[in-house]
Symmetry: C2
Subunit: 222 residues, 2 copies
């Protein structure tokens, strides 16, 4: 009866509070140094080093060395997905009603999920793309290509990359799919460049400008 891949190893890695804090911090999409992660996790540098080593060995994070700094980021979309899914359970079945503050509301409305847009705005975009016939399964239709080009996305460059263009990712607050993949990442970048949205440097929240919200609503009717 025991079928499918071995999940205990991965879950145990995420199951330590210090490591979970690190991973949650990395969900902002930013690459953080080992010392920054230590501070996030509330442990000393030695302990953090050990944790980061385990996360790396487990394939959950990737490193990028720059001089004497070690920048750490999530390894791929899959990891982000797992973390989102876990947050869903933790928020729901979790500790008898997590009291939801204003900060929580901002996260539910729009946030960064590793490298793409999540929350209400994320699913709004996904649903809009699908309803408009721009996104069919995991491929972009002709109208979809036109739409994202219009927004200033360099599709050719994305197609050259090894990462898949469109992927689903499950939203913990909306419990619906939103768009991940290299296109999801590129779109969030464009929204920032266009001044439609800005990432809060201290959290995963994404704040939409009035202009951005209006443009967004007209593009992806809700």
């Amino acid at each position: 009866m025991k079928d499918g891949p071995d999940i205990a190893r991965i879950a145990a890695l995420i199951g330590d509070p210090a490591r979970a804090n690190m991973l949650t911090a990395l969900m902002s999409g930013k690459a953080l140094t080992a010392t920054e992660l230590a501070r996030e996790a509330g442990v000393t540098a030695q302990t953090a080093s050990s944790h980061i080593g385990k996360l790396q060995a487990g394939g959950l994070v990737a490193e990028q060395r720059q001089g004497r700094h070690k920048y750490v980021s999530l390894a791929n979309d899959d990891v982000g997905r797992v973390l989102e899914a876990l947050m869903g359970v933790a928020a729901g079945a979790g500790h008898l009603r997590t009291r939801t503050g204003p900060r929580d509301d901002a996260l539910r409305h729009a946030r960064v999920c590793y490298n793409h847009l999540a929350g209400h705005r994320g699913t709004q975009m996904y649903d809009g793309l699908v309803a408009g016939g721009h996104l069919v399964g995991e491929t972009l239709s002709e109208s979809g290509e036109a739409l994202v080009r219009e927004l200033g996305v360099d599709l050719e460059a994305l197609r050259k990359g090894r990462a898949p263009l469109c992927r689903d990712c499950l939203d913990w607050s909306e419990r619906r799919a939103h768009l991940a993949g290299s296109l999801g990442r590129a779109l969030l970048t464009r929204f920032e460049a266009l001044g439609w949205a800005a990432c809060d440097p201290n959290s995963r929240a994404v704040r939409f400008s009035d202009k951005g919200a209006a443009a967004f609503d007209s593009l992806f009717a809700r």
Copy 2:
């Protein structure tokens, strides 16, 4: 920077091998007794009892007592989602290439995900529903209602239930969304009743009959 719900508690629960085996076994959708779970996990009854208690306290499983038996099942869709997502990471970043056998192929093609259809057949159905305009966001269109009624699903009964009708669930093998929710569950039940598909009693695999495969393909063109 540490935002979002507390995921470590949940992940730690799944992180123990014995408990992970139990949860994986429960992904077949069947409710299992404590002794059966003990056997699945390869531990004694006492140990299993302790584990089940923790899973219950954590909100991951629900119990249903029947005489001297304690039937345990996954608490809800969210839990199934997390397990699927974890399998995705474990299969990918996981232990340097999990060798994929014939049994694995069957799982990838069609399997039970807690209570609904997953694998290639699962995403085929989801994509077919969306492409046909039957499913828009998380609501069923008029044509969608007609379609599922045609298949013999009692929509009124489902709507009376507290569980949401349509939900997304992320597929670990396809890395795409498939249909969960009470409708997802009902459809799988109907496919079995119609003789289109049968659940392997010893695994999560779902085997389609020739008739079923043909009907399925014509309904949800691929």
